[in-house]
Amino acid sequence: MATDINAPVDNSDPPAASGYPGGGYAVSTDNSSRRKLYSRLFYLLCVLISGLSVVVLGVLLVSIGWQGHSRLTWDLLQNSHSELNPESSGMWPSIIGSVFICGICAASALPLGIGTAIFLEEFKPASKPLRMLHSFIQLNISNLAGVPSIVYGLLGLSLFVFMFNVFGRIQVNESSGTELFGVSHYYQVLSLAGGGHTVLIPQEDESQKTIKIDEPTQAVSRDGETFELAIWDPASGQPKPSDPEVRKRTVRKGQGGGAYSETEWYYLRLPFGKSFLAAGLTLSLVILPIVIIASQEALRGVAPSLREASFGLGSTKWQTVRHVSLPAAMPGIMTGAILAMGRAIGEAAPILVVLGAAVAKNSGPQNLMDNVVTMPVLIFNWAGRQQAAYQELAAAAIIVLLAVLLLMNSAAIYLRQKMRVG
């Protein structure tokens, strides 16, 4: 049928089919224009509401930037915290601390979380009791995602820091708990060399905290060299050795020594105490539900036809998971993981509970049992101080933290796009 495009368009209602129950009512043009007005108003309302959140974020960023921009220098990134001199305070140890804690957190939460998601999504059991267990676990993971992070902090405190005191109580600056490896205990004894030069004598009985040297014994130098320790007894009338090398290997008879321990980087003891290991594991509890739920979503998004294709070729369940489901779900899993890590790096409450609020640390952790400072804890500490300089430092540190978070989120977006294309 040829139509003349210039013909006037017929906008009136088409004739109702006979028997159409909606027919016969007057069509109100008033009503129709009012509906359109409502639609428009609702649209404006939506724009307003979403604009409001952007404005709030903008105000926050501007005020923080205003406060902190003057402190945003290389000194801030390189120096460590100073109680006396805020001008030269920096956040280097806290950056390292956050990195280490996030490393522990990722290394423990990702395998656990992805593994749990695989179990929940790919290995759905068939028998009734197992199915109930399955849905019980699922329900609890959803609940865990809503638990406040400070509660996880308390859990981490009793689970990782104290381990319910099963392995003994933690003593400050003393060997305590059950030490597994990476630590050697010595007595530190002053040698004749003077100037505070000491030799180390291996501890045999750990309950004995001090020693008194009366006879020659095996000793270790600070360089790790073992030698026979000589004794010089002033009462014997012998002259004091004059050779500095001999003096370094000789102690006065009756010289006392105190306990001293040397640790390797892999020093491990139970319980973990106020260590970054404990803090990282606590944070992994915080993000575990997030990782599980994100990974589950990603696995659920894998087309069932791909799994069928894999099973149809005679692959086992594990082969299907390993070669089909996991690769297909990887973009989603990685995105969820990075967002979860962003949450972990910004958490202050559980760290405050587990490690305390102390910020006097001028390096990263020296061993697994070492305490650390993290960025949110440092910000918390600085922001609570009276001096204006610390307030500015806190603002500058917030900018750094936000930059790190922004970087991580961009990485997540980039990863998702890239892996989706490939």
């Binding site: 068939a126 791909l306 069928e308 294709a309 149809g312 070729l313 005679g314 692959s315 086992t316």
Partner: protein, 282 residues
């Protein structure tokens, strides 16, 4: 194991070892050797019985088409032949389903080995989001330890067999999802035969394809029957008549009629079959 070794060796060897009957096709048509024997077979989804007391013999090295209206149980039966329904928690079955001497439904049957013997091609082309090469190499890598050269040879053999080699030989490492629908489906067939199956199950392999691709797949199916026992579910009457040797008509979970395709289409014994193949219902 025999078919598997054959796959790695040359094509001519395969046709000799895998199709002892192909030398005398006329004889094979008279007394087709039974490959899949189904007797008194019942299947359920939960409490719904999808298949009622069904008995059917599927002959070796022929194409058997399952036809019937939607929900008649033909796909269900197909998915029981390689125990694909194990994935469905509510699926259940009872009866006899034998492939040669292998009791398919037995609890002790190793489904991994079963599915290696019984390949499957699905309704929608479902290549993995990997390269063309990796798609075909996926199955062999699961079951065999092959050298790179052996794997290359096997991939080429499978792609040639599935009549898609010439189209993809220059881009074996390009993503398989970049192929057209028909090419993807032939790739899926190549993937299925790369593990060296004896039986190929095809669940409406052409229903998502355009007419030209459909024709290519139909030709391929007709050729593949020399070496494989093929069971095909189809909604397309013409397709069943074009490329199957035997046809089984299902209705409401029961087998109504089965026999040589020509007989079922030209002189059906049952009125319902007649109505269905003439397009009066379904």
């Amino acid at each position: 194991m025999k078919a598997l070794n054959a796959n790695i060796s040359t094509m001519s060897e395969v046709s000799r070892s895998a199709t002892p009957q192909s030398d005398s096709p006329a004889q094979a048509e008279v007394t087709p050797e039974v490959c899949i024997r189904i007797a008194n077979f019942n299947a359920w989804y939960g409490s719904f019985q999808a298949i009622h007391n069904l008995s059917l013999d599927v002959p070796r090295n022929q194409v058997t088409a399952f036809i019937g209206p939607s929900g008649c149980g033909k796909s269900t039966l197909l998915r029981w032949i390689n125990r694909m329904n194990d994935i469905v928690p509510s699926a259940n079955s009872r009866g006899t389903l034998m492939i040669d001497e292998l009791d398919v439904l037995a609890q002790t049957t190793d489904v991994v080995n079963l599915r290696r013997r019984v390949g499957m091609v699905f309704q929608k082309p479902n290549p993995f989001p990997k390269s063309i090469y990796d798609n075909v190499a996926f199955g062999p890598k699961l079951h065999l330890y092959l050298s790179r050269a052996e794997l290359d040879e096997l991939v080429e053999w499978s792609l040639r067999k599935a009549a898609v080699w010439d189209e993809v030989k220059d881009r074996l490492h390009a993503p398989a999802l970049g192929l057209s629908g028909g090419q993807q489906q032939r790739l899926c067939i190549a993937r299925a035969i790369a593990v060296g199956p004896e039986v190929l199950l095809m669940d409406e392999p052409c229903s998502a394809l355009d007419p030209a691709s459909t024709l290519a797949i139909e030709d391929l199916i007709y050729e593949l029957r020399e070496q494989y026992t093929i069971v095909m579910v189809t909604h397309n009457m013409q397709q069943a008549s074009r490329c199957s040797d035997r046809t089984a008509f299902f209705f409401e979970g029961k087998l109504v009629e089965s026999g040589p395709t020509q007989d079922v289409f030209t002189k059906p014994q049952e009125k319902r079959t007649d109505d269905y193949v003439r397009g009066r219902f379904g």
